[in-house]
Symmetry: C2
Subunit: 341 residues, 2 copies
């Protein structure tokens, strides 16, 4: 058992932190020892891991001694501050934040797409943005078969993308609304109960695109290794708890039919087709929640493109799983360090 890795989780008390643990358990990921790291506020509390109580330690630069794999999900600032120490200590960092995604020395990996890039890491491997992952898992096998030139997508993003505090705000503000009580938003600028709003990341004053949208565009190009793919994207936060949806229209270099897309996606890893026209049953957040696959449905010709090069579809994926924790654990499973430790 000595070749099993020592794993640290930085941000163990967050929404993704909890899913790191649940996902490792569910997939039987071998762990010699787990180090549970969080801010000073949570130090001393415990979490349950495989029948043990593990005491949460404060995340510091000294936290990574003897650690083989460090899973980070505590925001870009924390990743920037503590990842170098983890790498110096010999750990491989799998980072769920945006801190290093566009760094040319850091592989940006969705295992279904570019697992081979994992071997090129210099200590850090980045997990892409959740909206990018949700779109790209089904788009990649299509792109390989018939290059995608243009994508227009609109997101329907869940509270979980903002973390546990945003999920809590959605629940509490909705309860207050139903009880007729006033509620002052705490972590989200806008009222959230039965409301939706443009994604709550900063807007580039010049382009008018928010950071979430810019991430989708840049990360797609890096992961697909295609600088020319044209992407228009609108990111919207909806009052849903934990799975993202996206309405996607894409145009291919050569003609493509909905049957072509169905044939490609029926064999695609990480994809499940949910597309029952007779029953009006398509991907929904409630069905994607807790699932590993990206659900894909509403596969149909884009009626705005008479040339027959464009398809529209609707997808849903668990933002905390494939959009974050699962993608990270899939990367960890492919690390040579896992066996070498």
């Amino acid at each position: 058992m000595s070749h099993e890795p020592v794993v640290a989780i930085a941000g163990v008390t967050g929404a993704v932190g909890a899913e790191f643990i649940a996902t490792m358990d569910r997939r039987g990921f071998p762990v010699r020892k787990l180090k549970a790291l969080a801010s000073a506020r949570s130090a001393g509390k415990t979490i349950d891991f495989r029948g043990e109580k593990i005491v949460i330690e404060e995340l510091t630069e000294k936290s990574f001694e003897g650690v083989d794999i460090a899973l980070f999900s505590a925001g870009a600032g924390t990743s920037r501050k503590f990842s170098p120490a983890a790498v110096r200590a010999g750990a491989v960092v799998i980072d769920n934040s945006s801190a290093f995604r566009m760094d040319p020395n850091v592989p940006l990996v969705i295992p279904e797409i570019n697992a081979a890039r994992i071997r090129e890491h210099n200590g850090i491997i980045a997990v892409p943005n959740c909206s990018a992952i949700t779109a790209l898992v089904p788009l990649w096998p299509i792109h390989k078969a018939n290059r995608i030139k243009r994508v227009i997508l609109s997101t329907y993003q869940a509270a979980s993308g903002g973390g546990a505090a945003v999920m809590q705000e959605l629940v509490e503000s909705t309860r207050a609304y139903l009880d007729g009580r006033p509620f002052s938003p705490k972590v989200i600028q806008h009222p959230y109960a039965f409301n939706l709003f443009s994604h709550n990341t900063a807007i580039d004053p010049e382009t008018g695109y928010n950071d979430e949208e810019t991430k989708v565009i840049k990360e797609t190009r890096k992961i697909f290794e295609d600088d020319k793919i044209a992407i228009g994207v609108t990111c919207v936060r909806v009052p849903v708890l934990r799975a993202h949806c996206e309405a996607i229209t894409f145009e291919c270099e050569n003609p493509i039919t909905e049957d072509d897309v169905r044939a490609i996606l029926s064999k695609a890893p990480g994809v499940r087709i949910v597309d029952d026209r007779a029953k009006n049953y398509f991907p929904m957040p409630i069905d994607a929640s807790g699932q590993d696959d990206v659900l894909v449905g509403r596969i149909r010709k884009d009626l705005s493109d008479a040339s027959g090069h464009s398809i529209s579809m609707f997808v849903s994926a668990d933002q905390l799983l494939k959009g974050a924790a699962l993608n990270a654990i899939q990367i960890a499973e492919l690390l040579p360090q896992r066996a070498m430790a």
Copy 2:
């Protein structure tokens, strides 16, 4: 006062029925007498109108004697069944349902776009689908200035589009969810609390488009009197109570900039620009609710079209007002019958 019209409302107990009355009040629409019509189930109950209690009568073919204007919002079946009797009795029917919208003898009217068509009616004037109205009020003045060739839009539709029962289901299922109680969907096939789903209208098994989407495509072409405009549309129901949102990307015949669009929309009737990048403040259902205008924001270049012909934007409008009751009352205000009665 004898030239003031006698007005009948068919479907007075519905979500739109209530807004017909509130909108007439708010706009000081003159009414000699109001006939409140509904199904037998509601007959004998009363509603308040300008300080009077009005007894609800059962809607029958005999309901329209002496009626000048009949506002219908009780579903397409009811409109098909009772409109002919209303027309025979000399009333002008303003119909909020889909029953007659595509009938070449029936004007399909958004007053900001094609008020002149009102005069061509043969007894029935149709109010367009709410998703179409929400998109077309801001798209029309752009289309007039620089023909729109192609539109791709995704909707974020509120419960109100399905009527009062769907709004109630959203509230009740959400309350049950928060209380940890089971809830069996009654009027919507899917769980609605913190969930979203593809629009709950029938799907064409061949094309894969649902009725709501087909309406948006066909009605846009009829209202714009442009059979060539190419439209791709995805209609989605979200857990919001009463205002629809839409992410819209459109391509014009000639180059267009976001400043062009802002200049056009700042003078457009029925449109209010809500587009504050610094404050991250854009159209939201909570702000559109109870408002007459279509709110338009996120006006920006579509980054997927390098040619400079495409713009993306995000809009929100009160589905019960501009999407239904207000549009109908605006039509009524323009009727010659109003003065002739």
